[in-house]
Amino acid sequence: MSRLTLLVGIAALICAPGVTRAQPPGATQPSAATGNAENGRQLFLAYSCWACHGYGAIGGTGPRLAPSRFATAAGLTMFVRNPPTMPPYSIQVLSDAQVADIWAYLQSLPRPAGAKDIPLLNQILMEK
């Protein structure tokens, strides 16, 4: 039996809003990397990033990450090392190069369409 209330609460805690936050000013930047998108896709699946952020990073319990909200791989690296709410990933678990690969994967994802461009959603929007 699941402890649903607890789970929902914790899931929200793990995955919610932190990704949108800016990196701390003046922090030491990890080495710049452009990353390998295909390797990043495999890491995104293997390290359960999809669990909160959805397959294809479309969002779920956690926020949408497609395309990445971080302008640089270094920004994402800084964030995952000590995020405010989601689980932290140390360099022993995910190297800077691996995080850069994940960043490259997120950058490669297509920008989503707007609701008004999707007839079914537009129709719902028009309903009273």
């Binding site: 699941s2 649903l4 359960s48 989503p112 079914l120 959603l121 309903e127």
Partner: protein, 642 residues
């Protein structure tokens, strides 16, 4: 009902000679038949006539078997049950209630209640749980002694935690002197209800039929008085099977208890606080027990121009609750605009007010609770939640208290306060429009993704059901509440909430039970069903087919126990051990489970797995075609996690 013309026989006498009697019966279809039979060619196969046996048995046999029982006690028990107008009884068969079983089918003509065949006791109770949330009334469940009750206990706990009435009868072999040896001893208990007493509202084990009548009517009345909860009647096998005693037995008259209303002074004070608030917030959870409850909540919200949600503003202001309380497209639905910090929060049947109370206090605000929970507490299971430090606690049923609260609010609203409320209402309506637009923009993300997004699934479904009289009979919290964010929820049966106690295995059977209640109204029942939940007791799919219960089930198949995937991942991360093993023990892979085949095995129309969003509309249309013809159908959809 056909009845024997013979006298009845005492059961104890019968049981003492059961073995020898059984041998005679096996050899003798009927004495009368033997007398009319043609002369045998093989004497060894012929039953001797009564005359031929006389030298051996010493006396002529009675011409009709003395084993026949006239007017068994269970017939009277059924008379009592019928007086409660219980429409259905769900059961997985068990020998400890076979007397009542027989009475229902034959003496009662299998109607009011009609017996439904369940493949697991947990499903039997969960079906009753779902039924009651649509119908507002319980149905009956029959459970086998010990083992049936143990199977059912998870579902009983869910119904208890969800404050839903279920009328449960459990068989028991009370009298050890006549209890047959072997397995019946495993199915007997000195205090049968003990194992569930912590999570039911009342139980009894009557010693006589008169006692049964009084306790059954009392049990129904207790179950239906808010806060509602399951009740258990333990019924002795002998009491069911022995003839009813001579003399008058009567069925007591049922008079329902009116639900408790809030104290007039406290209600007046609550109204004063709300009317004078600048940012009031109404937090409604198990508030609307009836369709009237929704209308009353709308009236209160509109009088105050206060937003209505299910969770605290500080916790995201979730608008969907464990009951259908408030129309999803009402301008006051939601948590208010960004930065809306309530100075007065009104909780209506909120299970956990502690966060809202603490947040209100931290802001210098106030909180009010109206809940019948304060009148019903038990010690062991911790469903009473954290101590809520509210400023005003009214121990009363919220729905019953709303009329007097509305009257007080309207009486205390001065022209100035009305103007302030109207100004607030305009801003809230704007915030509601913006929130809806934001939701739909979010839904656009991953629109063409495979696995299919839950937003896409909900939108495709809505497009095909919105002109029907529909009812969503499943929980939404694991699918990011997409239906409530997109669909137009207005009526009490359009949303029923979740398990109550957080026990998995509720979803499928509760959906079937709710669909059963919807069936007589011709409503279209929709179940968006988790794959993990379905695997607990999938046999309920057969029950839906067998009893022709129309229900469209869309399995949102994320191929795992997804909450646990996230939790295990979190633990791995904070221990700095990686997160690449979070799938172990949490996912359903190698092999994938084919839910369409599973449903087809139970005789249900099914399709899938469907992973391409372009195929989804067609699959839904074909499923709905079956459901609109009165059948259940299932579509297996490979989805995003949430």
């Amino acid at each position: 009902m056909a009845r024997s013309r013979s006298r009845s026989v005492d059961r104890r006498t019968f049981l003492k000679s059961a073995v020898s009697g059984a041998a005679v019966v096996a050899a003798a279809p009927s004495v009368a038949g033997a007398e009319q039979a043609p002369r045998p060619t093989r004497p060894s196969a012929v039953v001797p006539s009564a005359r031929a046996l006389a030298p051996d048995v010493g006396a002529p046999l009675v011409p009709v078997s003395p084993r026949f029982i006239e007017q068994p006690g269970s017939d009277f028990m059924l008379d009592v049950v019928k007086s409660l107008k219980l429409e259905f009884v769900t059961a997985n068969p068990g020998s400890s209630f076979e007397g009542l079983h027989e009475s229902i089918v034959n003496y009662g003509g299998n109607t009011m209640p009609e017996l439904l065949t369940c493949l697991h006791e947990e499903s039997a109770v969960a079906m009753a749980h779902g039924f009651a949330k649509v119908d507002g009334k319980p149905i009956m469940v029959m459970l086998h002694g010990n083992v049936g009750l143990q199977h059912a206990s998870m579902a009983i706990f869910n119904a208890y935690a969800d404050r839903v009435p279920v009328f449960i009868i459990v068989g028991n072999h009370m009298d050890a002197a006549v209890r047959r040896g072997g397995v019946n001893w495993y199915h007997s208990a000195t205090d049968m209800a003990l194992m569930v007493r912590d999570f039911i509202k009342w139980d009894d084990e009557p010693a006589s039929l008169g006692h049964f009548a009084e306790s059954a009517v009392r049990a129904y009345k207790i179950a239906m008085t808010p806060p509602m909860a399951p009740v258990v009647m333990v019924v002795d096998v002998e009491l069911q099977e022995q003839p009813r005693p001579a003399g008058t037995l009567r069925v007591p008259r049922l008079t329902m208890t009116s639900p408790p209303m809030g104290d007039a002074g406290a209600v007046r004070e609550a109204a004063r606080m709300l009317v004078n608030a600048e940012m009031p917030f109404i937090m409604a959870q198990r508030c609307a027990r009836t369709p009237t409850g929704i209308a009353l909540l709308v009236e209160l919200a509109e009088a105050l121009q206060a937003p209505v949600g299910a969770g605290g503003v500080d916790r995201g202001g979730s608008s969907v609750s464990d009951r259908m309380n408030f129309p999803s497209r009402h301008p006051l639905c939601g948590a208010g605009w960004a930065g809306y910090e309530p100075d007065v929060t009104l909780g209506l049947e909120v299970q956990d007010m502690s966060d809202a109370a603490r947040s209100a206090s931290a802001r210098g605000g106030k909180s009010i609770s109206i809940s019948a929970e304060d009148l019903f507490l038990k010690s062991n299971y911790q469903d009473f939640q954290r101590m809520a430090e509210v400023d005003l606690a009214i121990a009363a049923d919220a729905e019953a208290t709303l009329p007097s609260l509305i009257e007080e609010v309207k009486r205390q609203l001065t022209p100035d306060r009305k103007r302030a409320a109207q100004a607030r209402g305009a801003k809230l309506a704007d915030a509601h429009r913006q929130a809806r637009a934001t939701d739909l923009e979010t839904a656009a993300t991953g629109w063409d993704a495979s696995p299919i997004s839950l937003a896409r699934l909900s939108a495709e479904l809505w497009a095909q059901i919105k002109n029907d009289d529909w009812s969503l009979v499943s929980w939404q919290n694991f699918i990011s509440r997409w239906p409530y964010r997109m669909w137009n929820f207005e009526k009490h049966y359009q949303y029923l909430g979740g398990q109550g106690g957080g026990g998995m295995g509720y979803g499928a059977p509760a959906a079937v039970g709710a669909a059963l209640a919807n069936k007589k109204h011709g409503r279209l029942s929709i179940n968006i069903q988790g794959d993990g939940d379905l695997n607990y007791a999938p046999g309920v799919l057969w029950t839906a087919v067998h009893h022709k219960i129309p229900l469209l089930t869309l399995v949102y198949n994320n191929r795992g126990y997804h909450a646990e995937v996230m939790l295990v991942q979190r633990v791995m991360s904070v221990r700095n051990r990686g997160a690449d093993h979070a799938h172990i023990g949490t996912t359903l892979r190698d092999p994938f489970i084919d839910y369409a085949k599973m449903a087809q095995t139970y005789g249900m129309y099914a399709e899938g797995p469907t992973a391409d969003p372009k195929d989804l509309a067609g699959a839904i249309a074909r499923g709905l075609e079956r459901v609109r013809r009165g059948e259940p159908a299932l579509i297996d959809v490979i989805t995003q996690p949430r």
